[in-house]
């Protein structure tokens, strides 16, 4: 009961602290809000770059063309052989008749040429479309597939894929570094603003100590206050993120420049970003406060 009362008092005091030091609290909240908006933009950019690169990587497929005269039995053996390989994700069989049908559906010219073909005189080859779990190993997997008996040629966009992958890796790493750096800068800025707020209240801390407040008695209301500033400060960035991203997504019709670059669907992405913003605000607010108040505690 006593602990509950002390806890209740701490919560009440933290609200009072924010209210009674309104101008400094507003300075802290504005600082948190502005920096978190920048963090939010960086997170949205980074999330979309990651999503886009993953989309491209997922679209890369190894096409294994089988020998013209391959038997039904061999087809299933080849499947088993491919399936044994490491880093193989999905294997899809596409027979030559299916390929011809697709081509005829796609173009009238093809239809004119191909419509007379029977299964036996179809010059196309049966194929296996293989996706890998890790694009870095696409070249090794292709080479191994090529060695399987009954496979004639393997294609996956050699050269271009490797180049794309390395560019994407650089972009991903750079955006992650930017986000981390921004979070650190935010933490520093918020912690410093809160420090100024608390520095102005060292007299209050001194009085608390004189009337017999323990270090925990002093620290806890300030930690709650930091937490509260963090929560209030993250409200505007969260609103900006939610409404801003949904509006942007709608305006760009979910794509950037062309249909190749698809933006992440707003839900649940905006909630994830918002959750992270709230968490950063709370943690940084709390630790900023704790760091500042420590200075005035004689431990």
């Amino acid at each position: 009961m006593k602990t509950l009362r002390i806890f209740g008092r701490n919560i009440r005091d933290s609200f009072k602290g924010v209210w009674r030091n309104l101008s400094l609290s507003l300075a802290s909240v504005s600082c948190i809000a502005i920096t978190l908006i920048v963090v939010s933009i960086a997170m949205i950019l980074s999330g979309n770059v990651n999503s886009f690169t993953s989309q491209i990587e997922n679209d890369v497929t190894i096409v294994a063309f089988l020998d013209q005269n391959v038997e039904k039995n061999d087809i299933s053996n080849i499947y088993k052989e491919i399936n044994k390989l490491e880093y193989v994700d999905t294997i899809e069989f596409k027979g030559k008749d299916e390929i011809a049908d697709e081509m005829m559906d796609a173009s009238a010219t093809y239809e004119n040429i191909m419509s007379g073909w029977t299964h036996d005189d179809n010059p196309l080859q049966d194929t296996y479309l293989v996706k890998v779990t890790d694009i870095d190993h696409i070249s090794d997997v292709s080479k191994k597939i090529e060695q399987i008996n009954g496979v004639s040629i393997v294609k996956y966009g050699e050269g271009m894929v490797e180049e794309l992958v390395s560019i994407f890796d650089i972009i991903k790493n750079v955006t992650i570094i930017i986000v981390i750096a921004l979070i650190l800068v935010t933490a520093f800025l918020i912690a410093n603003t809160i420090k100024i707020t608390i520095d102005s209240r060292r007299r209050e801390i001194e009085i608390m100590r004189l009337v017999g407040a323990s270090n925990a008695n002093i620290r806890i209301p300030f930690i709650f206050e930091g937490l509260l500033l963090g929560v209030i400060g993250s409200i505007i960035p969260i609103v900006v993120t939610c409404y801003g991203y949904v509006a942007l997504y709608a305006r760009l019709h979910g794509q950037l420049f062309s249909s190749i670059i698809r933006l992440i669907i707003p839900e649940p992405f905006i909630y994830q970003v918002s959750g992270l913003l709230l968490l950063i605000g709370m943690v940084v607010g709390m630790f900023g406060s704790l760091r500042a108040v420590r200075k005035y505690l004689k431990i």
């Binding site: 006593k2 008092r9 608390m208 100590r209 004189l210 017999g212 008695n217």
Partner: protein
């Protein structure tokens, strides 16, 4: 019965200045003691040692049998809860009301609201400020602010009240009003130690008076002995 027993107490500041030298002092429960002396004689240092704002460099200070010099910093609050302290500059929370300033000292203990309310009003009644609970310190006179500080110091019913120049900022008339309050608290059984340079007050009250000089006890006047 001894409440305070100081033996061989020396305090040297980090600057190298020695404020108290081999001081021996015993104060009985229920006494009212003035500590006087010229500026720099060590009287404020003595007060600070008693409420454990400072630690003695040498010697022992026992308060109620507890060696306060040995208490680690993080446990100082335990001794502070047993001692009421009043300062020259009142040390009130400017943004809190009279009531909140006094209640503050009880809230940290987690007492129930009703009990806090009762004790705060009782303390404010004792200092004659029951009618000003909702006012803020800046709306009060110096004497009233000091009385709020006294109410805060005694709200927890401490056995010992240390007053460090409580009338330092007040005119003679207001000083006497504050002294009346301190005396009435003493009459209720609280031991009072008052550090002061206000010789008129000391002369009028005729309490036990300890005259310090260069960090040592120059003279220990028994009750009624001291005259200007």
């Amino acid at each position: 019965m001894d409440l305070i027993r100081m033996r061989d107490v020396t305090h040297t500041y980090k600057t190298g200045v020695t404020a108290l030298r081999d001081l021996d002092l015993t104060i009985e429960k229920g006494e009212f003691v003035f500590i006087i002396g010229s500026t720099g004689c060590g009287k404020s240092t003595l007060g600070k040692l008693l409420y454990r704002e400072l630690k003695p460099t040498k010697g022992t200070i026992l308060i109620g049998g507890e060696n306060v010099g040995k208490i680690p910093n993080r446990k100082v609050y335990k001794i502070r809860r047993k001692i009421g302290v009043v300062f020259q500059d009142y040390k009130l929370l400017e943004k809190s009301t009279v009531y909140e300033n006094v209640a503050f000292a009880l809230e940290i203990f987690g007492l129930p609201k009703e009990e806090i309310h009762e004790k705060v009003l009782k303390a404010l009644d004792l200092v004659g400020l029951k009618g000003k609970v909702k006012m803020y310190p800046k709306e009060l006179s110096g004497g009233e602010q000091q009385r709020v500080a006294i109410a805060r110091a005694i709200v927890n019913s401490p056995k010992l009240l240390i007053c460090d120049e409580p009338t330092g900022n007040l005119d003679p008339e207001t000083s006497m009003e504050v002294m009346k309050v301190i005396q009435s608290i003493h009459e209720l059984g609280t031991t009072v130690i008052m550090v002061t340079h206000d010789i008129d007050i000391v002369d009028k009250l005729k309490k036990r008076t300890i005259l310090l000089n260069a960090g040592r006890v120059l003279k220990d006047y028994a009750e009624g002995e001291y005259t200007k």
